[in-house]
């Protein structure tokens, strides 16, 4: 029995230590961030391209089908109450407030997050980060901060694209396939979706962007520098990010209702 308590105690201490280190790491990234916008803006732009533009196709394809399936579900269920005109509203609410930020963040973790983790992990495994240290260049500032900021900036933009393409998918299914009146479809959305709803989506996508990018660079920086270590870190990035995003989603939604 003592052994069980001992294990629980050791795990709790280890968790507290890791969580503390994680917070300090976040503060280090924040501390170096303002300087990057002044001196190395082009590096940030390059990372926005890597994290954002290269994720665009997957986000657009998924956005289209999520919007389309939302319209399918909404139409088939609303038709029972003769409320087909509300198909667009249902899709818009779901996309802007929930699925846009959440799905984009999960896709972001799977595409850009894993790329970040494995890139940084491999840099560590091949001594590139140590070489920077030896050249008196701070790898946190030179490698991690631009990648973190690139992810933070790219995420809300991707979420906006996801929602916009999703609405296009919903329009195709609702208006073109099921012949919902195009005026009603869009007017209902205009009348019902408020700026407050859009803001909720924006806030979520910013928070998810910070969380996903932070977890990705943290896992990469703390990789065990072996092939197996990089693989494990990449997997952890996806799993931890997905759980974190769903927990944060619940918390933000609860706070904003």
């Amino acid at each position: 029995m003592n052994r069980v308590f001992q294990d629980i105690y050791e795990n709790a201490v280890e968790f507290a230590r890791t969580f503390g280190a994680f917070q300090l790491f976040f503060l280090r990234l924040i501390r170096h961030s303002p300087g990057m916008f002044v001196g190395r803006f082009n590096v940030i732009v390059m990372q926005v391209y890597n994290a954002g533009a290269l994720s665009l196709v997957i986000v657009m394809v998924c956005g289209f089908f999520v919007g389309a399936v939302l319209a399918l579900q909404a139409y088939s269920n609303m038709a029972r109450f003769n409320a087909e005109d509300w198909t667009g509203v249902a899709a818009a609410f779901a996309l802007v407030k929930e699925l846009g930020p959440v799905m984009t963040a999960i896709l972001f973790a799977g595409r850009a997050g894993t790329a970040l983790t494995s890139e940084i992990g491999l840099m560590k495994a091949t001594d590139q980060l140590s070489a920077m240290e030896m050249m008196a260049v701070n790898p946190v500032k030179r490698v991690l901060v631009p990648r973190f900021l690139g992810g933070v900036i790219a995420m809300p933009l991707l979420a906006a694209v996801f929602s916009a393409i999703g609405m296009f998918g919903a329009h195709l299914v609702g208006v073109e396939l099921f012949q919902v009146d195009v005026g009603s479809f869009w007017q209902q959305i205009q009348l019902t979706v408020r700026m407050q709803d859009v803001n909720e989506g924006i806030i979520k996508s910013v928070v998810f962007g910070i969380a996903a990018s932070l977890i990705a660079v943290w896992e990469g920086y703390n990789t065990v520098p072996t092939a197996e270590g990089v693989g494990r870190a990449t997997t952890r990035t996806v799993v931890i990010t997905a759980i974190t995003i769903l927990v944060f989603d619940f918390m933000i939604t609860a706070a904003m209702i």
Binding site: L122, M123, T126, D127, Q128, S130, A131, M132, E133, M134, M135, A136, V137, N138, R142
Partner: protein, 293 residues
């Protein structure tokens, strides 16, 4: 007046509060390691290690695999911190340096990593230019001249536009050497510089190490297994074993030493104090025994 002011600024930048360069600290010993203790659980790597590296010499650190040669380099450059004892660089205990002071000190170091450690997203040219772009305000034209000069020295001026993934292991090591010396460091550290090089490249690198050390008046530290190459280039060698210096001296002195360990290492003998086989149960017992299946 402006020139005078700039001169003052340059002087301040060069001395930067550390006093490394002050003439008062000048001594024949550039790096002194005193009573160093370092362990990586579960085994100790260094136990009361004492070692001195003299200014202007090429010092070789040798020893069987797993004796902690690379770890020692990482301790000297404070990539690792000793658990006990001290390492002095130019009389300064490096464990006491702040991050800013440490980075200032590291600008005096050039390090060649075992695998080159080139930045994979930059071309050969940009890899060599990297320290210059980070630490100086030189014009692109001047950076180009310096980089091409260093690449020419290692015979890879023609590979300036290649990416690291397109280089062979030996070429990558030579580019890394060009990068290590691009800031004209006071101390050049080579971690296994001869591994994987063809005989021509090896000969060139050996001569380059010697020539740079003599012409630029720098201090070089080489970690290597290659007894032959080290013998041709090193002024002094340290042989590490069991966390301590087992022998030291000029390479020819080590060759003729009476110690069994030194003889075994210098002549590459299988039998001696250093066991070739890692601790294991009896060979026959393990092959025939049922319990290990």
């Amino acid at each position: 007046m402006l020139i005078g002011f700039q001169g003052l600024l340059l002087f301040c930048a060069a001395t930067d509060g550390l006093g490394f360069q002050s003439l008062g600290d000048y001594s024949e010993n550039l790096i002194e390691i005193r009573d160093l203790k370092y362990s990586r659980e579960p085994r100790p790597i260094f136990e009361n290690l004492n070692l001195t590296i003299r200014r202007g010499e090429i010092t070789a650190i040798m020893g069987p695999s797993g004796t902690g040669k690379t770890t020692l380099l990482r301790l000297i450059t404070r990539q690792l911190i000793p658990q006990q004892g001290a390492i002095y660089v130019d009389g300064v205990d490096i464990a006491t340096l702040t991050q800013a002071q440490l980075y200032t000190m590291r600008q005096r170091f050039g390090m060649l990593f075992q695998n080159g450690a080139l930045l994979t997203d930059l071309s050969v040219f940009e890899n060599v230019a990297f320290p210059l772009r980070e630490h100086t305000a030189l014009t692109n034209r001047l950076i180009r001249h310096i980089v091409l000069t260093k690449l020419h020295a290692v015979g890879l001026r023609g590979a300036a536009d290649m990416m690291p993934s397109e280089l062979s292991g030996g070429m990558a090591r030579r580019v890394a050497l060009a990068r290590a010396m691009v800031m004209d460091p006071d101390i050049l550290i080579y971690d296994e510089p001869f591994v994987g090089l063809d005989p021509i490249s090896m000969g060139v690198i050996v001569r380059l190490v010697r020539r740079m050390n003599d012409a630029l008046g720098i201090t070089s530290i080489i970690v290597s297994h290659d007894v032959e190459e080290v013998a041709t280039v090193a002024d002094r060698s340290f042989l590490l074993s069991d966390g301590k210096v087992a022998a030291s001296g000029r390479p020819e002195e080590l060759r003729t030493a009476n110690s069994e360990l030194v003889r075994q290492f210098m002549h590459g003998m299988a039998d001696g104090p250093v066991a070739f086989h890692y601790d294991a149960p009896g060979y026959a017992e393990q092959l025939l025994g049922r319990d290990t299946e």
